[in-house]
Subunit: 204 residues, 2 copies
C-alpha cells in the first residue's frame, strides 16, 4: 500500500460465479495499484428475495445462465483458473460468509475466501457443509472448532445481517461489487469486469 | 481488414444504453485488430417480452437502473462521448432499426447508426420520429424519402423480424452483443465491455 491512495471495498457472495475470478485476482490488482483493499462478504439472497427472486437470475433466465457459464469459462481460462461445475448452483454460502466476516477482522479472511471459492467452483465441494469449511480452516492452520463456534454466535450472525443491510443501503444489487468512498460520496462498480475501473477510481 | 482474421457481428438495439458507446467505438477496435465487422441491428422488445418484461429491466429494477446510468456516465466520460438524459427511456427504435438494416446492406448503415445513437443519448431527440430520422439521413447526403419508403415496405419489415429471430436462435438476450462464428459454432459475447474479448476471439 503506497502513495496515500484511496481504498476499494470488495463485496462478495460465495454463491456468485463472477465473484470467483474477482476474489482470486483482487488482491494482486489492488496491490499493483497501491490501493488499500477491504474484504466485505455479504449475502445476495435477501437482496434477490426483495426483488421477488427466490433463485439465481441465471436459473430463472436460462438463456442468460447458459451465456454466463460460457463467459465465465472464457474468463477463468484467461486467468488460469480451474472451473468445474459446482455440486449445486447456487450453493448456500451463509456459513462460509459468517466465517469470512470473522476472518476479515482477524487477517485470515482473504486466504479463507479464496479457499472457499476454489472449493465451490473448482473442487466440487459442498460449501454449505460445516465439515468442509472446517477442513479449509484447518488447512490454513486455524482452529476450526473455535472459529465455527464464534461464527455461529448470535451477535456474529447479526453482524453479517448488518453487513448485508449496509450493502443494500449503499445501492448494491449484485456481486461482486466494489465501492470507493470519496468526498463526493460512494462510487459503485458492479462485476468482475469493473475491478480495474474501481481501483483506478480509488487512485484519482 | 488484414491477415485473414475472422469476422465479428455487432448486434445492437437503438434503445440500449450500453450499445451507444459500443456503436461509437466498434469500428475503430475492429479495424485496429484487422477483424471484419458486420453491423446487425435487431429489436430487444420481443425478446424482453418473451421473458415477461414489457419495459427495460433498468426501469423494472430501479436500483440497477440508477447504477447503469452512473456506470454509463463514467464510460462515456472515459471515451470522450457526450451523454445527456434521453427524452424518454427506453425510446422506440423500431423505425431506426429498419433504416439501419437497409443501410447495413448499402454501406451507409454504420454512419447512420452512430447518428441515431448520438441523437438519442447526446442530442435529446425523439428517434421514433420519422422526421428526426429523415433529417439524419439528409445530413448524410442520402435520399430520406426514398429510404423511408423502402424501410417501411412489408418485405423489409419482415427482414427485420427475421434478423431478430436469428438473434434469439443464436442465444442473444441483450444488447450490445457480439458473435464470432467458427468451426466449433458461435461464440457469444454480451456487453460493451466484451467488445475487446470478441475481437480477440475472432483473431484466434
Amino acid at each position: 500500500m503506497g502513495g496515500g491512495h484511496g481504498c476499494v471495498e470488495f463485496w462478495y457472495e460465495f454463491a456468485s460465479t463472477y465473484s470467483y475470478p474477482a476474489a482470486m485476482r483482487v488482491e494482486r490488482v489492488a496491490r499493483e495499484a497501491g490501493v488499500e483493499l477491504r474484504w466485505r462478504p455479504f449475502l445476495l439472497g435477501p437482496i434477490f428475495g426483495s426483488q421477488g427472486w427466490n433463485d439465481s437470475p441465471f436459473n430463472i433466465y436460462p438463456v442468460k445462465g447458459r451465456y454466463m457459464w460460457r463467459d465465465l469459462a472464457r474468463i477463468c481460462e484467461a486467468e488460469g483458473l480451474v472451473l468445474k461445475e459446482p455440486v449445486r448452483f447456487p450453493q448456500n454460502g451463509l456459513k462460509a460468509a459468517r466465517l469470512a466476516l470473522l476472518g476479515a477482522d482477524e487477517g485470515w479472511g482473504p486466504a479463507f475466501t479464496r479457499a472457499v471459492y476454489s472449493a465451490n467452483f473448482a473442487g466440487q465441494q459442498d460449501i454449505s457443509d460445516e465439515g468442509v469449511l472446517g477442513e479449509l480452516l484447518t488447512r490454513l492452520g486455524l482452529d476450526a472448532g473455535d472459529l465455527t463456534a464464534r461464527a455461529n454466535a448470535p451477535e456474529h450472525k447479526e453482524k453479517l445481517k448488518a453487513q448485508t443491510s449496509e450493502a443494500v443501503a449503499r445501492g448494491l444489487f449484485g456481486a461482486p461489487s466494489f465501492t470507493v468512498s470519496g468526498p463526493g460520496g460512494d462510487e459503485l462498480f458492479w462485476g468482475n469486469d469493473r475491478l480495474e475501473a474501481a481501483v483506478a477510481w480509488a487512485r484519482r
